[in-house]
């Protein structure tokens, strides 16, 4: 993956998840963060820290992003269930 297309999400414990920008943009908040006109710290370095989210949660979130991208266009019936309990 190219450097420009990726973004780094850092959990409370310091775990770094490098994912596609496109995946991260699934979250409206992260999207605003990255596309905000001002030069916030996040956009400068391309990394976002979440001091209140722990690693396992953040990992699941990243998985959700990718799952969401994959099934974005299908009708709701056809969507495979996102199993959290796995």
């Amino acid at each position: 993956m190219k450097k420009e297309d990726t973004v780094k999400l850092i959990s409370a414990e310091g775990f770094e998840f490098v994912i596609d920008k496109k995946a991260a943009m699934v979250s409206q908040t992260i999207r605003n963060m990255l596309t905000s006109p001002g030069s916030f710290a996040e956009t400068e370095h391309g990394e976002v820290t979440f001091p209140e989210i722990n690693t396992t949660i953040l990992e699941k979130i990243c998985q959700y992003f990718y799952w969401s991208l994959q099934y974005a266009r299908l009708f709701s019936e056809a969507i495979g269930k996102f199993g959290i309990g796995r």
Binding site: T29, P37, F50
Partner: protein
């Protein structure tokens, strides 16, 4: 970061870390956010962490401190906007707008960043408390603190209007800047745009154009003025497209239209030496087209042009038609009419967009003045006659069609179509009998057009004439086939047998044919009556022609083409050298007026004087002596003398024809009355008049007085009766 919940085999638990709800918590959090907003407005945001700010705002709202957050936002933003306002006010001259523009874009950027941070509040707290969302709030605060500040508001408007005024007077201004500022006003809401800019703009523009139009119209002619008006209009449209709200376009164009065009409409149309009439006369297509497209935009514009054009055409047409000079020569007369019609047709086509209303106005004007001259039907028929005799010689078929179609257009304008029919029949008869028509196809084509226009009835007799000509040819063939052997030494006879109903009625004259001919004619008569029983033949000596081979005393031989009457006269000189007028009259029994004309054409016309007359005067007296002119010479071998040409009628002839027309109309009116009464049974007097006039309108304009007389006549003859109860009603008697 709000997750979707489905109560299944897991639960989403609240944050594990402690969130302290201490009283200072709200203040502390707010302080962080306040500081961030300051930094953002001071272009210092790079040190901030979006995540941290977002989280803080989120927590404030979550812990029910949304109100504090919101009001804090309002006051912080207001503080900054007031500072911006001061710096804008301080700007000098031209940099005012630049400064405003810059601060506006700064504010927008800051606003977006703030909104992003406070997204959670925007989505949850604000809808539930029905407060204004952040973005809108930012715009409203800008509007209240900057745009509507007492120092900025008037100055902004004046600057904008001043720039527009300068552009109108030819200066180049910064359009990009204008666009941004205007867009800012539009973003603040349509009421801001309208109140703070558009309304004053329209008012100022109206004043500007009012003054300018007054100035222009004093010193320009119509065409130049229209040009300027058009340019100004286009300029305004362009201005809108470049830096104003598109919704303003119809408003500003209607201002220009009103001030520059609507207010001066009549003055422009009637302008001396350059107004509408002059443009029409000079075929100024471009100017006329411009006037049309400009006037179209204002109420009553086109009808003003149309009315003026109509009255002009009516007046000039009336002049043309009643001018004694112009109405001397029928062909010229009709040519002038056609020319006039072509001219206006072209104008309407090229300049007036083929507008139907204008076409109708043209037609009604022509209808009006063509019928002012009672000889118009006769002249049109003479025109056609001239064309079909010689005017269209050598002309291609398509062009002939074009000319005939144009004649048909004029024909349609005639009110008295039955008069035309009468003359046309006369002229056609003469053409056919003298064999003078250049193209049978052209003749038939015109008949077809008349039939399409007026129906079968109109042309049935005309077609009958053509049929008679054809039948006569066959009859002649039959005659010579049957009796040819006996007629070897006789003069060649060509007979046209005319069915009485189809041909124009002529009073048959007396005329004694020379002996050789009368025997021949009798032979034909018996042949014809042998094959057609129950018919009566009478010779029309005033309509025939003869070819004579003449040998004069000087040895010259010529072939003379003369009328039948002239032939009878000339044949007398085979037996005697000289005769008096009285002798000739006795011998031929030709009526005196015809005889005089006949002798005049034989003796008094230079180049055709095969007879000599003593005395040499123009008039024929009872005792004048005639003899063959042995000194007669001519350049041509074949000399044509006095063919029967369709002339414009003399006064007595005219009266006679008119009388006949009036007579013919009476039965037509009666037929119409009977038709109507049979259907309606009982009808009031005025209604009858109206219905009859309407029915007869395709043929002629019925006179109410005449209709009344016909009704009386029908009452006498028991076709109708007066109603007993109401004298104004009539009833049909079966």
């Amino acid at each position: 970061m709000s997750g979707g919940q489905k109560k299944r085999n897991f639960q989403i638990e609240a944050f594990k870390h402690k969130v302290v709800v201490d009283p200072k918590y709200a203040d502390k959090t707010w302080k962080i956010l306040e500081h961030a907003i300051h930094e953002i407005y001071n272009h210092n945001a790079s040190g901030l962490s979006f995540e941290e700010l977002y989280r803080n705002a989120y927590n404030m709202v979550l812990h029910k401190f949304g109100e504090k957050l919101y009001s804090g936002l309002v006051s912080t933003m207001t503080f900054h906007l007031q500072a911006m306002s001061k710096s804008i006010e301080a700007a000098q001259g031209a940099s005012f707008l630049d400064e405003l523009n810059m601060k506006w874009s700064d504010h927008n950027k800051a606003l977006q960043m703030i909104r992003d941070i406070l997204m959670y509040m925007d989505r949850t707290f604000i809808p539930s408390t029905h407060k204004t969302p952040v973005h809108e709030l930012g715009l409203n605060l800008w509007r209240d603190n900057v745009i509507h500040s007492s120092k900025i508001q008037p100055r902004l408007l004046n600057t904008l209007l001043d720039l527009i005024h300068r552009e109108r007077t030819g200066e180049v201004i910064n359009r990009g800047l204008m666009r941004n500022i205007i867009k800012m006003l539009m973003d603040l809401g349509s009421s801001v745009y309208q109140e703070d800019f558009e309304k004053p703009f329209l008012e100022v523009s109206a004043n500007f154009y009012r003054a300018e139009s007054q100035e222009f119209i004093e010193c320009s002619d119509c065409g130049t003025y229209l040009n300027k008006a058009e340019r100004r209009l286009n300029e305004e449209i362009e201005r809108v497209s470049h830096y104003l709200d598109p919704m303003s376009e119809p408003k500003i164009t209607s201002v220009v239209e009103k001030e520059m065009i609507a207010n001066h409409m009549l003055r422009l149309v009637h302008m001396e030496n350059s107004g509408l009439v002059n443009m029409l006369l000079d075929d100024k297509f471009e100017d006329l087209g411009r006037m049309y497209s400009l006037f179209r935009r204002v109420p009553n514009g086109l009808s003003t042009i149309r009315d003026e054009m109509t009255s002009h055409i009516r007046d000039s047409g009336k002049e043309l038609v009643t001018d004694p000079e112009k109405s001397k020569n029928p062909v010229e007369f009709v040519d002038a009419l056609l020319e006039k019609r072509d001219k206006y047709d072209k104008i309407i086509c090229f300049a007036f967009n083929n507008d139907k209303a204008f076409q109708n106005a043209l037609s009604s004007s022509f209808e009006y003045f063509i019928n002012l001259n009672p000889r118009s039907p006769e002249y049109i028929s003479l025109f056609v006659d001239d064309k079909l005799r010689q005017g269209l010689k050598g002309v291609k078929e398509e062009e002939i069609e074009v000319i005939l179609d144009k004649v048909m257009i004029l024909f349609r304008y005639l009110q008295e179509k039955d008069v035309f029919e009468k003359y046309y029949k006369q002229h056609l008869a003469k053409r056919l009998l003298s064999g003078k028509t250049i193209s049978d196809d052209a003749e038939r084509s015109l008949i077809v057009k008349l039939k399409t226009e007026c129906g079968y009835q109109f042309t049935s007799k005309l077609e009958g004439m053509f049929t008679d000509m054809k039948t006569s040819q066959d009859t002649m063939q039959g005659f010579y086939a049957a009796c040819g052997a006996e007629l070897v030494n006789c003069p060649t006879l060509v007979v046209q047998v005319l069915t009485t109903g189809s041909w124009p009625t002529q009073s048959s004259n007396t005329c004694n044919l020379p002996a050789e001919l009368s025997a021949l004619c009798e032979k034909f008569r018996s042949y014809y009556l042998g094959t057609h029983t129950g018919r009566k033949l009478s010779w029309q000596t005033n309509m025939g022609t003869a070819d004579l081979r003449a040998t004069f005393g000087n040895g010259q031989k010529y072939e003379l083409n003369v009328s039948t009457h002239q032939m009878c006269v000339l044949m007398l000189f085979n037996n005697t050298d000289s005769l008096t007028y009285r002798d000739i009259e006795q011998a031929t029994e030709i009526p005196s007026s015809d005889l005089k004309r006949c002798l005049q054409s034989l003796a008094c016309v230079k180049g055709k004087n095969v007879l000599r007359k003593e005395p040499m005067s123009k008039d024929i007296g009872e005792d004048d002596v005639f003899s063959v002119n042995d000194k007669f010479t001519s350049k041509l071998r074949k000399v044509k003398i006095g063919t029967v040409v369709a002339q414009k009628e003399s006064e007595p002839e005219k009266l006679e024809t008119r009388q006949r027309v009036e007579e013919d109309r009476k039965p037509q009116i009666e037929a119409a009355i009977v038709r109507i009464m049979k259907a309606r049974r009982r009808l009031e007097h005025n209604n009858i008049i109206a219905e009859v006039t309407k029915q007869l309108q395709p043929r002629f304009l019925a006179n109410p007085g005449e209709i009344k007389k016909r009704i009386e006549s029908l009452i006498e003859r028991d076709f109708l009766e007066r109603d007993n109860t109401d004298r104004r009603f009539y009833r049909y008697l079966a």
